[in-house]
Structures are given as structure tokens and as C-alpha cells.
């Protein structure tokens, strides 16, 4: 009864339309990217995933988000458990273990972990209602909430997802009234931690990509065939699109397979090549709208849990979008980051839809009790 009334009155149409449009563009783009190739039915699979995703989001919306708050630790714990299971049951692809087989599908627990982290942080901040300035001591528990899954994800290793987890955490914590002194201390820690990470934590292939990136920035790039190749071909695709693009299914970089991982990490160059600058701006604007809308939902949320969840989901979409765009346009090193809603891949889509379901949930229940 309550739900019926809410959907009728408070259904967030702008959010729904923006999400649907991006997802539809994603399917079209996937069709174009894979047409005539070995994976030419990928867009059909993606449609199935999308239907499943909307179903999951619908279920998420149906349950009052306060129930998620209640079972916050359980959800968080389940995600952690799944991450641990990866090491026992996981399937190894290209040197990293990220997937576990679930029936016919393979699931990527690290994707679900993003949502788990958002919920856990939201639950913690919901109950920690300090209004004054926060110090580093106040960051210890949230920091631990981040550290556990992040360590597990880094062990897989999956640098991209670990970065997203860190970015979500940082964004959420920026909501709170952190003292300037604490922020400075944090930055200093980062400066110290960076070289440690470089020398002890990063794998060689990860370092290679980052080196290739700096080489290109510095103009000393020597071998296009190795690490810089992906970014180079990606820039060729984007750049040759021009103002209006080469037309749907007419991208030569795509069709003649010069783009690496064109349907997972590099769908944006495909889009930009075929639809040009105008198409690229349209797509970027949709994401911009989505993130700003999430912030608006957060600001209207009726409680801290809802606000943190909205900011967390917004941050998740924002950072993944920015890193993916930066990567394909040569501004950031290639780290392996999907473009939410747009990239091919079930787990990524599912976790995004889960997040968007939560967002809708918060949006629709801003006035209810």
C-alpha cells in the first residue's frame, strides 16, 4: 500500500530516464563494437544482464532502505566472505583471480564489495552523529572498514577496483566536517605511502602501464607496440571521430580491431569514434547529470544513512567514469576500469544497478517515515 503510493507520487523519473538512456546507448555501442566478430551476440547477453539489473534494482527499491541499514554489517560481512572465497574457488584470468563461478555465470565479488562498502560506511556514519570537527581518530573505524576489503581486492590483484573503493571512502568522508589539520596529515601519509606502494605492492605489469603513461605525457614514448599501444589506438579512435563521428557501426578503429578490450574497458572510444564530439558530449553530460542528481538526492535525504548511500553511489559512478575517460583519452594510466552502465560485463552492471536501486530508494523515501 505504502509502496504503491510512493511509486505513483515520488518515482524519480529523471534518474530512471538518465540511467535507461545510458544503458540503451551502451547496448547499441556494444552491438557496433562486436558486430561481425566472434562475440557478435554480446549485446544480447548485455540485454539479459540489463533486464536482470533492472529487476535487481526494482527489488532494491521495493525494500525500504532502512532495512539495508539494519542489516548493514551482515551485507558487509557477506561481501567480505565472497572476497575471501575468491581465493579458494576463484577463476584466474590473465594473472588475476577475480571471479567465482555461480551456476552459469561468473560473479566478481569485488564489484559487489563497492555496494557493501557504501552500506557499511553509511551505517557507521548514521550512528556516529558527531556534528563538530572530526579528527584523525574519528577516521580509524571507517578506515578499517575500507582497509579490509581493499587489502583483499589488492591481493587478487585488482588495482582498479581497489582505487574505486578508496575513492568512495574519500568522497564519503569528505561529507563529514573533517578538520583541516587532519586533511593535511592524510595527504602527507599519502605522499609517504606512494613510493611504498610502488616498490612493494604493485605488480610489474601495473608499473609498466604507469610508466608508459608518464612516458607519453613526457613525450619520450618509444615503443607504440607495448604499453602505450592501447592508449595510442584509443586516442586514434576518439580523435578520428571529429565533430560528428564516422557513423553507427562505421568506426574503423573498432571494426578492424585496433582497439583493445573495446567492449569492456574501451567502449567510450568506440562511441566517440562513431558519434564524434557531439555524441561524446551527450554521453558525458548524461553521466554528469547522473552524478549531480545523486548529490541532489543526498541533500534531500531524510537521514544520514540515505545521504551517505546517495553520495557513495554518486562517487562510485563519478570516479569510475572519470578514471575510465581519463584512461582512454590519455590523461591517466591504463588501470582497467569499466565505464558504469556502458561497459560490457554482468558483475559491473549488477553492482551499478544495485547502487542505482539504492539511490532511487533514497530518492523515493525522502518524505516517508
Amino acid at each position: 500500500m505504502a509502496i504503491g503510493r510512493t511509486i505513483r507520487d515520488d518515482f524519480d523519473w529523471p534518474l530512471f530516464i538518465a540511467v535507461s538512456t545510458i544503458a540503451l546507448f551502451g547496448v547499441l555501442n556494444l552491438y557496433s563494437a562486436t558486430e561481425g566478430g566472434r562475440t557478435s551476440d554480446a549485446y544480447v547477453q548485455q540485454l539479459y544482464w540489463l533486464i536482470l539489473g533492472f529487476g535487481v534494482a526494482g527489488l532494491t527499491v521495493a525494500i525500504d532502505y532502512r532495512h539495508f541499514e539494519r542489516y548493514g554489517w551482515v551485507i558487509y560481512g557477506a561481501c567480505i566472505l565472497a572476497l575471501v572465497l575468491v581465493f579458494g574457488l576463484g577463476r584466474s584470468v590473465r594473472g588475476s583471480t577475480r571471479w567465482i563461478a555461480l551456476g552459469g555465470f561468473s560473479l566478481q565479488p569485488s564489484e559487489l564489495m563497492k555496494i557493501g562498502l557504501i552500506i557499511a560506511l553509511a551505517k557507521y556514519l548514521h550512528h556516529d552523529t558527531k556534528t563538530g570537527g572530526r579528527t584523525l581518530a574519528d577516521l580509524i573505524i571507517p578506515g578499517l572498514i575500507l582497509a579490509l576489503p581493499m587489502a583483499l581486492v589488492l591481493l587478487q590483484p585488482d588495482l582498479g577496483t581497489a582505487m574505486v573503493l578508496a575513492f568512495i571512502f574519500a568522497s564519503v568522508m569528505m561529507l563529514t566536517q573533517l578538520k583541516m589539520r587532519s586533511v593535511v596529515t592524510l595527504l602527507a601519509t599519502f605522499v609517504v605511502a606512494a613510493p611504498v606502494t610502488w616498490f612493494y605492492l604493485l605488480k610489474d605489469y601495473q608499473k609498466e602501464r604507469i610508466t608508459a603513461f608518464w612516458d607519453r605525457i613526457g613525450g619520450t614514448q618509444t615503443d607504440l607496440l607495448d604499453s602505450g599501444w592501447h592508449t595510442h589506438q584509443s586516442l586514434v579512435a576518439i580523435g578520428s571521430g571529429g565533430l560528428t563521428g564516422k557513423g553507427f557501426t562505421q568506426g574503423t578503429q573498432t571494426r578492424f580491431r585496433f582497439l583493445p578490450d573495446q567492449h569492456t574497458d574501451f567502449p567510450f572510444p568506440v562511441w566517440a569514434e562513431e558519434h564524434g564530439f557531439l555524441g561524446a558530449v551527450l554521453l558525458i553530460s548524461l553521466y554528469l547529470f547522473l552524478v549531480l542528481w545523486a548529490l541532489r538526492i543526498a541533500s534531500q535525504a531524510k537521514d544520514r544513512f540515505g545521504a551517505v548511500v546517495a553520495v557513495g553511489v554518486g562517487a562510485m559512478i563519478f570516479w569510475q567514469t572519470v578514471v575510465n575517460r581519463g584512461m582512454v583519452s590519455g590523461l591517466l594510466p591504463v588501470v582497467g576500469m569499466t565505464l558504469p552502465l556502458f561497459s560490457y560485463g554482468g558483475s559491473s552492471l549488477l553492482s551499478t544497478m544495485l547502487g542505482l536501486g539504492l539511490l532511487m530508494n533514497v530518492s523515493m523515501r525522502r518524505f516517508s517515515h
Binding site: 552523529t129 558527531k130 556534528t131 568522497s171 569528505m174 561529507l175 563529514t176 566536517q177 618509444t222 615503443d223 607504440l224 607496440l225 589506438q233 586516442l235 586514434v236 579512435a237 576518439i238 580523435g239 578520428s240 571521430g241 571529429g242 565533430l243 564516422k246 557513423g247 562505421q250 574503423t252 578503429q253 571494426r255 578492424f256 580491431r257 585496433f258 566517440a272 564524434g276 564530439f277 561524446a280 558530449v281 558525458i284 553521466y287 554528469l288 552524478v291 549531480l292 548529490l295 541532489r296 543526498a298 541533500s299 535525504a301 531524510k302 537521514d303 544520514r304 545521504a307 551517505v308 553520495v311 563519478f318 572519470v322 575517460r325 581519463g326 583519452s329 590519455g330 590523461l331 517515515h369
Partner: protein, 620 residues
Amino acid sequence: MITLSQRREVGEFRKRYRWMALFVVLVFGGIIIRVAQVQLFQRDRWSGIAQQNITKTLELPATRGVIRDIEGRVVASNRPSYDVYATPRLLGSDDVDRIGSLMGLSKQDRNSLQTRLDELPPSRRTHQLELFSDIDREQLAALETHLAELPALDVVTVPLRDYPYATLGAHLIGYLNEVNAQDLERSSDPSAYRSGDRIGRSGLEKRYEPLLKGSRGFRRVVVDARGKALVGTRPDSLEVEMLKKPVPGHDIQLTIDMRLMEAFDRAFRPHPSGAAVVVDIHTGAVRALYSKPVYDPNEMSSGLSTKRYAELTGDPFRPLIDKTMYETYFPGSTFKVITALASLEDAVVDPMQRVECLGSLKIGRQKFRCNKRHDWVDLYESIVQSCNVYFWELAEQVGIERITRYAEAFGFAEQTGIGVNSEAKGFLATREWYIEHYGAFRIGYTLNTAIGQGNTRVTVLQLAMANAAIANGGTLYVPQVVQNVRAPDGSLSETFEPRIKREVGVSPQHLDLMRRALNDVVQEESGTAYRARNRDGVGVAGKTGTAQVVSRRGRSEESSSAWYLDRSHGWFAGFAPAEDPQVAFAVLVEHGGSGGASAAPIATSVMQQYLSEPEPTETE
């Protein structure tokens, strides 16, 4: 309804949303700026690469122009050569071994091929590279059956230069070899030459390189990232030309008559080295430029080894030198015509006045020897019998200045301007030159100059041109070897009209006297070339000469041929037919001894063949 406590709960966050929104807008704005930079401002650059990515360019070489002789006989043309090119980026890991076994390469050759490919810089890996050239039929057949499995390979048919007359006329025609770094740098059009192309390196091939070359074309095919050709695919965004037909080079027709060249080649058979030039006296068109021995143009174009080059340069008969225009010789008695004309023109002596030749002449302490005792001779007889004593007596009165002046009028000591290959100027010594180099001037220098010895140096071509001027009544022409140039469609694009260098300024009756004297050199029993005359055949007129050879001892002392290399050169220079001159000639037989015995028979027999045969009505 929202309670106060709830407002307070979320109140901590309130201040942050604006800043977050601003941050988000700035970051997305930055991305849009970056995308604009790449898509709008750098578009041309990236589009270019995108088009390069999906196209493979196959070169279509131009057919080089054909060179023909005056009768249309082919002197230089083209035959197909099958060359193998590879695009290194598309080579699979075991492709080199495949190619090696198909081509029948040795293990060592395979390894060096692999090394050559491995050492390529990445920027060159997308460009075609020539692996093999002019492969044989078996290799071609083996490769072609497997070409579909080797997308990196292309077999290109390239026209290769072919010289049907082999070495005959090689100095004039020239040869091609591979372009070098300087050629590529010098070329004004950067696309005109690529590494591996051939360029005219000497002779007409070099002189007319821009006309003969033509311009290459290309065909582009669309390929995917693995280099697989996608036949019939042409993306709309591909803005490049897919096909440019090659433009063949211009054809060149020479004034040279290869039949005449062959006649000289036969006539020169007894002699290891020499040269001959025949020119049309009315136009200056060169009918023959014959130099012996010659190098093999095919050998030159494939690149000489250091050892072979040393062999060629060390050969005492100097095959690399074009003896018609690059080497200079003493003109010997052929020069007496010039001395005689100088004296006649300036009325220094009475031509009818006789001088007694006792076989030698003593001037001061020096004794100058004549070839025999001629007794009393006048100017006319001294030409016919080639009496040195008469000319020594004459020289004292004519003086070196007059001799030099008339020699210059007839084109000596200056380049003829033929425009092919390097041409020597020759040399005429003046009084000042002798003073500068020998300290003082002696009468002996004039005496030597008068009979074509001393320091006078001429080329065979200069002597032929001077005789043409004598034969045609005093017009000195610029020699020309090209009659016309035709565009690929057959239309005439250039014809070469006769070019007069100057009128020599000698009176017709004096030239006539000389022509009669030269005729009698052959026709009179006392003439020095009487034994070389054509009985009942073409009348040939000319002056014999015997040029001393500056001793070569020290260079080939050990050689068994040293005695031969010290023998004098034999000359015969004149015109034919004697009654109605059409062509002038100069024939030099190196180390042939007396000109009357060596050079004159060659000239008369070749003229006999050349001028008595009917004009051919059809071309070969």
C-alpha cells in the same frame, strides 16, 4: 514531516554538497575539454593515423621510358623483375622460416634476414620493406602458392632495365643503380624516390632521368589489425585515394645509329682499345659515339665490389673512361689542317711555294725528324703526304698565336656542349703558358704545336666536330645525341633542332682546298691513307695522324703488354662521301701505330658499309 532532530542529523553534510557539485562539474568540464582537444583540434592527425592503420599501400612502379636509336631500334627498355616485399608488423613468429624454406634460403641467410627484421625501429614496421629482388621463376611459383597464408608478403612486378645491345654504346647510354642517401636528400619531390629505387647514374640514363623516370602509382587495400586484406571494403571515413595509376616515363629517340655502332665494333676487333665519332655535318647530330673497351652496364647497376672496381680502374685499357669525350690525346698530324688554314687565312705564305724535305730538320742544336724524305713539297702535297718538315718551316712564320686562334675557332680547348656525361676541354698552349711553365718560350714549342704534338690535347669528339665544319663550309655545330622525346601517349614532347656554335670564319676556297687535299690523302698514291681507300666504293676524305704516347713506364713496367702501351695512337679524321660530304668522323686506335695503317682502314670500311647500304625502310 521532517523532525528537527533529523534535520540536525543530516545538517553536518549540508555544507558539502555545493562543493562536491562544483568539483564534479569542473572534472567533467576538464574531460570535455580534453575530448574537444583530441576530437576537434587534433582530428587531422588522428584521422591520418586511423587511415594508415587500415590501409596497406602497394606500390605500382612506373615503367621507365624506352631509348631507341635513329631507326627505332631499342637501345634500352624494361623486362619484368619479381620483387618480394614484406610489412614487418604483420609477420608472424615463424613466417621468416616459412619464407626461408619457400625461397630456398640457407640457414645463414635466414638468420641474417631475421636479424635485419629484428633491428627495424618500430616506426618502420608498418612500412613495406624489400626482402628480395628479381627472384627466379621457381621461387616465384613457390611463394605464389602460399601467398594467401602470408598476409605480410607482397610480390611486386617491377620493370628492370634491359639493354638489348649489351655493352655497345654503354658509356653514352649509361646505367642505373640504387638511389643513395644524397639522391634522396637532393630530390626536390620527397615522394619521387624511395630507398631501393633505381636512378640513372651515368650517360643518357642520368641526363634524362627526370623524363625517363615517370612517376609511381599505388593501390591501397583495406586491412584489419592483423593485416588481413578485406576485399571490397571501403569505410566511408576513408578519405584517401585508393588507386593512382603509374605514369610511364618519356621515350627518347637518339640520333645514334646502332648499325653504325655495330660496324665500328666489328672494325675495331683487331684492336683492344680506341674510339670513333661520326656526326652529321649539316646538323651536328651524332651518328656514332664508340668507345672501346666498355664496362657491362648490368654489372655496374648491381653495384661493384671493391675488388672488381680496382680491376676496372687498373685495366690499362681503361674501360670506365669514355674515350670519345672524357680522354684527351695529341691530335698528331690531323692538326696540320688547322695549321694550314691559319697560314692560308692570314696569307702568311704562298701555298704554291715549295719546301725541301730532307727527312729531318735541324733547328739550333735540336734535330726534328720527318716520317720520310719528301723532297720538294707545297702546302697541298704536305697535307697529302703529311710532311712534318714543311709544317715546321711554316710554323716559324705562322707563329703559335695564329695556330691557337684558328684551333679555338674550330672548337678546340672548349667543351663541345654535347650535354651527356663529363666532357674534357682539351688544351691549347699559348706563349704565356710556356713561359710560365718552362721559364722561356722556344721556337720548338711552335713546331710541335703545328704538327699536333707538344701540349695540344683534343678529344675525339672535338676532332670530329672540327672536320664537320671543314666539310660543311665552316659551320661549327653543337653535337647532339637526342633527336626527340615522346610522351607516354606517343606525342612528341620535345624535338632538338640543330644548334650552331659559331661560323669558324674561314674562306670557302681555303676550306675547299683542304677538302681536296684530304680527299687526295686517300685517293693519291702518295697519300698516307692510300692503302685504306675503298676501291670502286664510297670516297672517304681525311687526315691521318700518329700521336705519340707519353711513356707509361713505371705504371705497368712489369706487364708483358708494356711495349704495346708505349706504341703511338693512330688517327684518321675527315668526312664522307668525299664528293658530297654527309658525315664527318674521327677514329682513334689506341697504340695502333701509324694512323694510315690502323685508323684509316677502320674509317673507310665503316663508311663504305654505312653510306653504301640503302636506307632501311622498316624498323626492327
